[in-house]
């Protein structure tokens, strides 16, 4: 009797053992330390199937590893929302990798506010002036820099197809009314006036609303609203919402914009079905590969036209210092130094020069490259010539902004008024604390 029972227990555990062994074999390979090689784990945001970004990033890694044979980087890649989901899970269990890609503002605050990463200021000392001012804004309550921004993202560019414009006998609009008046002409030609795909709800906020708020309210008001001296339910903010509503009602956006997945906006522009595209500067990265040489000639980067009675600056766009790498607070000195080597390589002069050639807009100040793609040159010129306001999702907390994005959709469908949207944002911002 007893032997048989043992036999069964044994056979069950037998099933589990090979799994354990197999599993363990896969897990333990990164120890690091021996023969002077430092191994660092890196969590990075990357779509590994992207035909432009992935090989470009690999190129940077190869250059770095060649120059630093003593450092071995072990990458884990996340992409889309799952990047953030996984990052949160890692942060909560206190199991962060050595180097982590972080975002400015609130997007990765569960990592930065929890004190899980090192302040980079001591490492950066003396190099602050080499970066765009925007990139050196304090990120923590005591002025900490948690991540070294790689790029400046301009989020609200009005890409313009001048060939179509000429065909229709139009010119780049100077005023909002002029833009509205172009709508019927463009639509009559079977084209889309402003291509924007808002199914995911963030583009309308990130690529349009923030810029409009700067125009109707001005930066002074914006700062006051963020600190609580002004309210988001003020009439000037409501005015910005009304403009979005009007653009929607007058069919200026892509038809069914709230059903279109992000990416479709660019598709329609590349295929010359749209005269203007409302999108961020990061899109240039894709345009380099997707626009024909002829298109690169006649596509220009413009600002949204002036709005009657605007308090903000003419031609302003919204921009934020982008994401960058930070390092785990638990790293010892030796590892931290190695981690900094990578961070500095990536966001500092060397990596920035490489990334600029790939179509990015580095936060590190560089001269304009001579051999760059025409679209990249246009982006650099544009970013250098227009005043910049805030991107809403980099200055307002996740929940209020998430609700705001969706309320904008509600407003377009008529289930909320512009005033409702403004009031609700004020209420949400107030409830989570400014």
């Amino acid at each position: 009797m007893k032997t048989k029972r043992l036999f069964v227990l044994f056979s069950i555990s037998l099933l589990l053992v090979p799994m354990l062994v197999f599993a363990a074999g896969a897990a333990e390979q990164s120890g690091g330390g021996q023969d002077g090689v430092i191994t660092l784990s890196v969590y990075h945001y990357l779509d590994q199937t992207d035909k432009t970004t992935a090989p470009n990033f690999q190129y940077l890694v190869d250059v770095f590893e060649k120059e630093n044979p003593g450092i071995k980087l072990n990458f884990e890649y996340g992409y889309g929302e799952s990047f953030h989901d996984k990052l949160q899970t890692m942060a909560m269990s206190g199991q962060l990798p050595d180097i982590i890609l972080l975002y400015p503002g609130e997007r990765t605050s569960q990592v930065t506010s929890a004190g899980l990463v090192k302040d980079l200021r001591p490492y950066l000392k003396g190099h602050e002036d080499e970066f765009a001012d925007m990139a050196m804004q304090p990120q923590g309550a005591n002025g900490e820099i948690w991540e070294l921004p790689e790029d400046i993202s301009v989020t609200s560019i009005m890409y313009t197809n001048n060939r179509l414009l000429k065909e229709l006998g139009l010119t780049v609009p100077k005023t909002y009314e002029e833009l509205l008046a172009q709508g019927p002409i463009i639509r009559a030609a079977g084209l889309i006036p402003l291509s924007i795909a808002n199914k995911d709800a963030w583009p309308m906020q990130s690529c349009l609303a923030g810029m409009l708020v700067e125009r109707t309210c001005g930066m002074e008001w914006f700062d006051k609203a963020l600190s609580g001296e002004a309210s988001f339910s003020d009439p000037e903010f409501v005015r910005a919402m009304e403009i979005i509503k009007e653009l929607y009602d007058k069919q200026m956006f892509s038809p069914g914009t709230n059903q279109l997945a992000y990416g479709q906006g660019l598709d329609d522009f590349v295929n010359e079905k749209a005269v203007y595209l409302i999108d961020g500067g990061w899109t240039v990265n894709n345009m380099v590969g997707e626009l024909s040489d002829a298109q690169k000639e006649y596509v220009s980067l413009e600002s949204f036209p002036d709005i009657p009675g605007q308090k903000g600056q003419s031609r302003s766009a919204s921009a934020t210092a982008g994401q960058g790498f930070g390092m785990n607070a638990k790293l010892d000195e030796r590892k931290a130094e190695a981690a900094w080597k990578w961070i500095w390589f990536y966001s500092g002069p060397e990596g920035s020069a490489i990334r600029q050639r790939f179509g990015r807009l580095p936060a590190y100040n560089l001269d304009e490259p001579e051999d760059a793609d025409p679209m990249i040159k246009k982006l650099i010129a544009y970013a250098g010539s227009v005043p910049m306001g805030y991107v809403m999702d980099s200055v307002i907390a996740a929940e209020p902004i998430g609700t705001f994005n969706i309320n904008l959709q509600n407003m377009m469908f008529g289930t909320m008024t512009p005033q409702d949207v403004a009031t609700d944002l004020e209420r949400m911002v107030e409830s989570v604390g400014r």
Binding site: Q251, G402, Q409
Partner: protein, 295 residues
Amino acid sequence: MTFSRQKHLSYWAFVLPGLLVFVAIIIFPVVFSLSLSFTTWKGYGSPTFIGMENYAKIFADSVFLHSLRNNLLIVAISVFGQIPLGFLLAFLLYRKVVRHGAFYQTMIFLPITISPVVVALLWNQIFSSSGIIVTIVRAATKNPQYVMEIFEDKSLAIVPILFVLLWMHTGTYMIIYYANLQKMTPSVLEAAQLDGASEGQMFAHIILPSMVGTIATTAIFAISGSLKAFDLIYAMTGGGPAHFTEVIAIYMYVNTFKYYKYGFGSAVSIVIVVLAVGLILLLQYISGKIERKFE
């Protein structure tokens, strides 16, 4: 060793290995969730106890209530759509009303084998405003502004999703019923046929009563599956536009992983469980009554 002792030990040897894995990986975290649901926690620092506040907030939130409504519609489409349709299809195949039954059976079940993410992507290519239907209508009517308005209507936006769910899951129920029908004794039906019973009478008086138990069991799967529906809807619409197609599982996911409200999110998962238990008890009560009626 006594016989009853041997029985006892064998029992635990059979039950324990699975139970341990299950408890460690599912029940344990659920208990963790339950206790977290009475707190507010941002994922770092220590949680603050707030009693029932999360639950009160959930039921006061119009987004949750709309999600709940959508979930109940999904329960309805599975219980009153997939199950009867699956039954009808199984019946038609069993009675060989159509030729090439095996072929149709395969086609109806096939959607189950495809990952929900892929299903969502395919249907989006059909439904979206850059998709096939819209492209065709635009070309046919020469109206480049045409969009499918059903997706922008608060109460109707869920309908296309219900349709996809119906298409996707009817096959499961058909297979279950078809197999159960094959277990019936053919002589009973033959005898009824000789007595001059019509196909309809046989369906109502012989086939249906014998299947009540099976239907009740499948309804439990239907309810539990419908209340935790996530993958397909998330991949198709993400709950949007404007929360119109949101369901409770998406509501929970967004609050937990996007707004970092772990306590609140836990409370939502507990609500899903409680709702499902309630519906299943209701179902068992009803099916018990029906079964007694047939006896």
